[in-house]
């Protein structure tokens, strides 16, 4: 989806957005966290959460063996548990992941654009993106230029996202705002809209590589942004919190928030994802607990 706005138009629209009251936003997130999800709805939520995971490995030590192990887990996490949505890897691992996941329906997502800092020239970021797409990535997770954003050059951020969108071709584009570096809620709201105006298919909180990653208030704020963006333009954009969501309890809080802020339309892995690695095993252990009535332990789920 190409943008019909110029950079200057998008920047001025974004600067005119209403402010965010931090205390109120955090209070709302805390309120949503008190929902009690039990029995059948918990079982449903666990399977839904598993199906929304972008099972991720983004280490310097990643090898084809590690990626194949992760791909196997993604396709068949545990017994009759659903497959995850995607496997998320560095561009150099895309071909391996693609081959391992062939025909399974599990997608390959690749980080790109000089992940995680993005502090390389634009042509290098675009080349990074193109190579990931050529290797077979179904989805591209790009990082925005936080330096330009914080320096106030919103137009530049907008044009760069547009350029990466063009380089992504048919791959769906997830735009990582790195909310921990944007620091304020006002900036997160502005960056969310800027990314959507520039053609993002998903907005994503974090790389998982900085001190503060996904939080519920930040994700709630981004959900309000995609809700309002659809109301304004008719275009639906997905949301992906990433980093720091490690257990079932937290995952369910996010699903409750999707349910009450966005509703049914976003309650599928086409529109909502968790960027996570250790979350999957906790979901599987909770799933076993619901089925068998007793807790197992970390040796009853696989280490991949």
């Amino acid at each position: 989806m190409g943008s019909i706005l110029s950079g200057a138009e998008a920047a001025s629209l974004v600067r005119a957005l209403p402010g965010v009251d931090a205390v109120g936003l955090e209070a709302r997130a805390a309120g949503l966290s008190t929902r009690s999800v039990k029995t059948t709805s918990k079982a449903h939520a666990i399977d839904l959460a598993i199906s929304m995971i972008d099972l991720t490995t983004l280490e310097g030590a990643d090898t084809p063996g590690k990626v194949r192990s992760l791909a196997a887990k993604a396709m068949r996490p545990d017994g009759d548990a659903p497959a995850t949505a995607a496997v998320c890897v560095y561009p150099s691992m895309v071909a391996t992941a693609k081959e391992a996941l062939q025909g399974s329906g599990v997608l390959v997502a690749s980080v790109a654009t000089g992940f995680p800092a993005g502090q390389v020239p634009l042509d290098v970021r675009l080349a990074d993106t193109e190579s990931a797409v050529r290797a077979g990535a179904d989805e591209i997770d790009m990082v925005i230029n936080r330096g330009a954003f914080l320096a106030g050059d919103l137009e530049r951020v907008f044009h760069e996202i547009k350029a990466v969108k063009a380089a992504s071709g048919d791959a769906r584009l997830k735009v990582i705002l790195e909310t921990g570096e944007l620091a304020t809620y006002d900036a997160v709201r502005q960056a969310s809209w800027l990314a959507m105006y520039a053609g993002a298919d998903f907005i994503k909180t974090s790389t998982g590589k900085v001190g503060v990653n996904a939080t519920l208030p930040v994700t709630l704020l981004m959900m309000q942004a995609v809700r309002d963006y659809r109301a304004a333009t008719g275009i639906q954009v997905g949301v992906k919190p990433a980093g720091g969501i490690r257990n079932t309890k937290d995952a369910i809080k996010y699903l409750v928030t999707v349910n009450e802020v966005l509703g049914d339309d976003w309650l599928s892995n086409h529109w909502f994802r968790f960027g996570a690695s250790s979350l999957l095993n906790d979901l599987l252990m909770q799933r076993q607990k619901l089925k068998t009535g007793h807790y197992s332990g970390p040796d009853y789920v696989t280490v991949d």
Partner: protein, 472 residues
């Protein structure tokens, strides 16, 4: 679809079949008996003795003796120890009190668990700390208690209002005779049991359930001070009754608060504040933001978001942890809300309610939003005391202030804007005891609460609240 399975609170407090009056440290029979029902099911929860004039006289005499021989002479440090003990016991039994309050009042367990009971405990902790520091309250070198205090409290926050009344009174060295509301005596009686458990000296706290007659008997008895929270009509009667006597009075009465949303407000959070302002506790809140004043330029956007948000509120079983709106407290209150809502329709306002199923038994009312409301309509002037919001618009800041102040009440107000200077400008002009900025319905034991105009006089909470219980 992501439906939440029922999540009922499993703890059940030990509710007795019958409760007596709590006089001089013991439960005794009264002149009559009445029933307390669960407003969510209309089932009888327990029976309770009703206090008559003779019972009130006995309770006041017991309180007098306790004040003169035990509680008044006791050092502040020792009084503080008792209050700390009560606060800790309330915390320890918080779950039990929360469930009991939900059963007797109809409010959701989410609120009793997260607000009513913890805030009540906080009031005891806060005032326990004052008990030996009254000389530093700025109310004189060695301020003395008033003596015996008669207190009459409402049904909307039964335990919390009890705490607001009893904690400062006891901290200052007074003893109390308290009448809980007719429909919600349970937590007050459980509190009486808790006083026994804390070994509070007999006669320091006396609890006398009953209806209006029992309240009048307390007001007319030889107490030194009357403290009342409730309707303006009853408050006026109390003021008349004590006129010409040396009894001191504090009254916390009705309200018709305006929640003012300017065009530069943080809109999503303002919508949350509007919802919290009027639908918290089914709107049974004297300081509820029952009038929304929204700037015309953003009115459509705010209303669309508000309706979407209200549609997600979950109405039903108060003991389900996911319930947002519980039962209306009584058939009488439901009738009043229904009548005023009908008046709103009749006067030409547009009514909107979300589609939601209501339980068959019990007293229920859907969250309701009236748009196209004009200042002259009854729903813009009279306190509804239910989950009903009246939406009015304004064009300029001056008009907002004029409309907000154009009511006989003056308890609270809310201001929503991202501009700090506008908050201060509005707060200076609003004639209300409490002005919240970019939030609503926030309470703290350290913060004084009370009204202007027909919303009453006197302050509760904070250093200022001590004045009502000291001879200054």
């Amino acid at each position: 679809m992501f439906e939440y399975a029922p999540a009922p609170e499993s703890v059940r407090p030990d509710i007795k079949e019958h409760y007596g009056l709590f006089i001089d440290g013991e439960f005794v029979d009264g002149q009559d008996v009445f029933k307390s029902v669960n407003p969510a099911t209309e089932e009888v929860l327990f029976t309770v003795a009703e206090a008559g004039e003779a019972d009130v006289a006995r309770a006041v005499a017991a309180a007098r003796r306790a004040q003169e021989t035990v509680w008044g002479p006791m050092s502040g440090t020792e009084r503080g120890k008792y209050l700390f003990r009560i606060a800790r016991l309330l915390q320890e039994r918080a779950r039990e009190f929360a469930v009991a309050e939900s059963l007797d009042n109809g409010k959701p367990i989410k609120e009793t668990r997260d607000f009513d009971v913890p805030t009540a405990a906080q009031h005891f902790f806060y005032h326990a700390g004052w008990a030996d520091k009254l000389s530093y309250a700025g109310l004189g070198a060695d301020p003395k208690p008033l003596g015996v205090v008669g207190q009459v409290i409402p049904w909307n926050f039964p335990l919390l209002m009890l705490a607001w009344k009893i904690a400062p009174a006891l901290a200052c060295g007074n003893t109390v005779v308290l009448k809980p509301a007719e429909t919600t005596p349970l937590t007050a009686l459980m509190f009486a049991e808790l006083c026994q458990e804390a070994d509070l000296p007999a006669g320091v706290v006396n609890i006398l359930p009953g209806a209006g007659a029992a309240g009048a008997a307390v007001v007319n008895s030889p107490v030194d001070k009357v403290a009342f929270t409730g309707s303006t009509a009853v408050g006026r009667a109390i003021a008349k009754a004590v006129a010409g006597s040396k009894k001191k009075v504090t009254l916390e009465l009705g309200g018709k608060a305006a929640n003012i949303v300017f065009d530069d407000a943080p809109i999503d959070q303002a919508v949350e504040g509007i919802v919290n302002g009027i639908f918290f506790n089914q709107g049974h809140v004297c300081c509820a933001g029952s009038r929304l004043l929204v700037q015309e330029s953003v009115a459509d956007d705010v209303l669309a978001r508000l309706k979407e948000r209200v549609s997600t509120l979950r109405v039903g079983d108060p003991l389900d942890k996911n319930t947002d709106i519980g039962a209306i407290n009584s058939a009488e209150q439901l009738a009043r809300i229904t009548a005023l809502t009908e008046a709103g329709r009749g006067e030409g306002a547009d009514v909107w309610q979300p589609a939601c199923d209501l339980p068959e038994n019990g007293f229920w009312f859907r969250p309701t939003v009236f748009t196209g409301v004009q200042q002259s309509m009854r729903i813009a002037q009279e306190e509804i005391f239910g989950p009903v919001l009246s939406v009015l618009t304004f064009r300029t800041p001056d008009e907002a202030i004029a409309k907000a102040n154009n009511t006989p009440y003056g308890l609270s107000a809310g201001v929503w804007t991202e501009k700090g200077s506008k908050i201060l400008w509005a707060a200076e002009r609003l004639r209300a005891g409490v002005v919240w900025a970019n939030t609503f319905n926030q309470f703290d034991a350290a913060s004084p609460f009370g009204g202007l105009k027909e919303s009453g006089y006197g302050r509760e909470g904070g250093r200022q609240g001590l004045e009502a219980y000291l001879d200054v």
